[in-house]
Symmetry: C2
Subunit: 339 residues, 2 copies
DNA sequence: GGCGTGATCGAAAGCGTTTTCGGGACGACG
DNA sequence: CGTCGTCCCGAAAACGCTTTCGATCACGCC
């Protein structure tokens, strides 16, 4: 491994001077600067991040806790998109991403905070982490800059971000109403995730504002995944009177519901209309193509990145909560009825 | 930040002794060992990975170059699955994953090797990297342990791994033949990726072995993505005589082809049979559900991990090339014809 | 009592950087 | 000719840890 000393020797200067050149300090003459740069290139020198981090106390890396449980299932193509655009932004500032493994040897540090401190990451990005995770309280107390998605974290250095779930749900219901539907069901989540709660809230708000009658038989809960959507749909179909449309808190549940409908001899998008949430890739490929509320994953990742960079570079910056707009994408799973 | 010296002071021993306790050296008495451990816990001490790495010359992290171009498109849910199981295995040995950002500031080190050395990763995992990438040759020369997927890398410390693409393609063709098809087309890739070439090879081998006549009008090329499958199908339909079945080198191209067929008033899975490759999540959700060759992403990730760990821990271990078995999953997109 | 032995501990060097601070050289200025 | 300011440069300390190697001590044995 070639070090700063190798360069110093070859250039006939001290290691200090080499370091100064490498870090762009002004107090080096043009001549020696060029000489050092030349030799650095010739030797193919690479600074040692560990050594540098040791003294600067910054690792130029951002820790990522990414939980893509079976339970979160199909949400993760999603989370991956978010991470990708997040990384593109922080990458431009020289950061790489350290993904903490879910599995660890027993001897290793455990818990969010311990692991983050162990690796000396400069900030943390959290995705798919359940609100109930142990270690979250001590994490926010740690004063490590954090941005989380879909997790309402409150701390002096913790911002969080999510789609406009309330607004998106309202959008869905309003759209259904505009298409002539008045009997509108809802399938939410049973785990009380923040997005799930907000989508339920939006549904109820819109129903009320539109003066539509709410019937508890038309409401069921799932876990965001396909099978649970299927079950939920079956349950709703047990009601004596059926809704003409159902809004699902995730695309995958809506897709599962299609299966349930067909089992009963009903045609989704004609006999019963469906609206999903997320706009996963599959949404436009199923039959009928699913009308849904699109989350802007790119904007989410980029905003998250900018927020975290800001938090990291600016010690007294107070945290924020950021909401990303959603949009309705209209496809074939909603029928116009009545008028 | 609490250091080893803080512990030493509190315990009335030297830092050396603390370090020994923390690293399980035998030459510490039971009594002081317990005392040090107690204080370590009380202080919530976390070893500093950078400092440790500096002296041990190991970072306990594995670098990942993950390229999920637009071009690779839908392959990436895939690659993500592979990475996830990879991480589960290496995590158990205490490794975390360092994802190199695609974007970098101009001042930062550039290229695979430079960046890997800069971060001091103990090994490298490569996914989705094109064979033609600059910097690959110098990377393999660097003697950093590497495992890559679907990229035929040859070097003293570079193993690579992929699905049994030749075998899988043969499987597909043989299955179609068993279903009575004799006129079988193929859509490969135009970029000469290793898996694309191998699937083409398997197709041709099987056709020959089965004595089926090969017609160049029945063969087209795409880029693994949906649109290109659609175009390729259209091109094949320009032939005077049509094939009764087409094997696609990716699921997404097969799904695109379904669209093309319907545009011509043909029903996929009845008028023309389709077989894909990959078994992406969507495959079973489209109509008709797609018959395909499933890649075992879990096995791929786990095998890759074991291989890399072995390479890292064992300096003279020669590299290997690993092939992961695939299986045919039969759904609704292939019709039985004839007999 | 001398000596070897095994158990336990610590001093010190070293890993590759950054950063502070002081010093030398040199020109300008009174 | 003394003094002061600028411009360059390097010595040294520090970051937090590991690891070698020698020192010390108690003990048992001849």
């Amino acid at each position: 491994m070639t070090t700063i000393y190798d360069i110093a020797r070859r250039a006939g200067v001290s290691a200090t001077t080499v370091s100064k050149v490498l870090n762009g300090y002004p107090d080096v003459s043009q001549k020696t600067r060029e000489k050092v740069q030349r030799i650095t290139r010739e030797l193919g020198y690479q600074p040692n991040a560990a050594a540098r981090g040791l003294v600067t106390r910054r690792s130029m890396s951002i820790g990522v806790f990414f939980q893509d449980d079976a339970r979160m299932g199909f949400r993760h193509p999603f989370l991956h998109d978010i991470v990708a655009s997040f990384q593109d932004v922080v990458g431009e500032s020289g950061y790489d991403l350290l993904f903490f493994s879910r599995t660890t040897p027993p001897s290793a540090p455990q818990g969010f905070e311990a692991r983050a401190r162990h690796r000396g990451v400069d900030g943390l990005f959290l995705l798919g982490i359940p609100r109930t995770s142990a270690g979250l309280p001590s994490l926010v107390r740690s004063r490590i800059p954090i941005v989380s998605v879909d997790l309402d974290l409150f701390g002096p250095r913790a911002s969080w971000l999510s789609s406009d779930n309330v607004g998106g749900a309202k959008l869905a219901v309003e759209y259904l109403a505009a298409m002539g539907h008045t009997k509108i069901g809802f399938v939410g989540d049973r785990y009380g995730t923040k997005p799930g709660q907000d989508r339920a809230l939006g549904y109820h708000m819109a129903m009320q504002e539109l003066g539509l009658t709410f019937r508890s038989e038309w409401v069921a809960e799932g876990d965001f995944m396909e099978e649970s959507g299927e079950e939920a749909m079956h349950r709703i179909l047990e009601a004596r009177e059926w809704p003409t449309a159902v809004f699902f808190a995730s695309d995958m549940m809506a897709i599962g519901a299609m299966k349930a409908l067909r089992q009963k001899g009903l045609e989704p998008g004609r006999d019963i209309s469906l609206v999903g949430f997320d706009d996963v890739v599959i949404a436009r490929l199923v039959t009928p193509a699913l009308t849904t509320i699109r989350q802007n994953t790119r904007a989410m990742g980029e905003e998250a990145a900018r927020e975290l960079l800001d938090l990291m570079h600016n010690p007294n910056r107070p945290p924020r909560v950021i909401t990303i707009p959603v949009e309705l994408v209209s496809r074939d799973s909603v029928a116009r009825i009545g008028g």
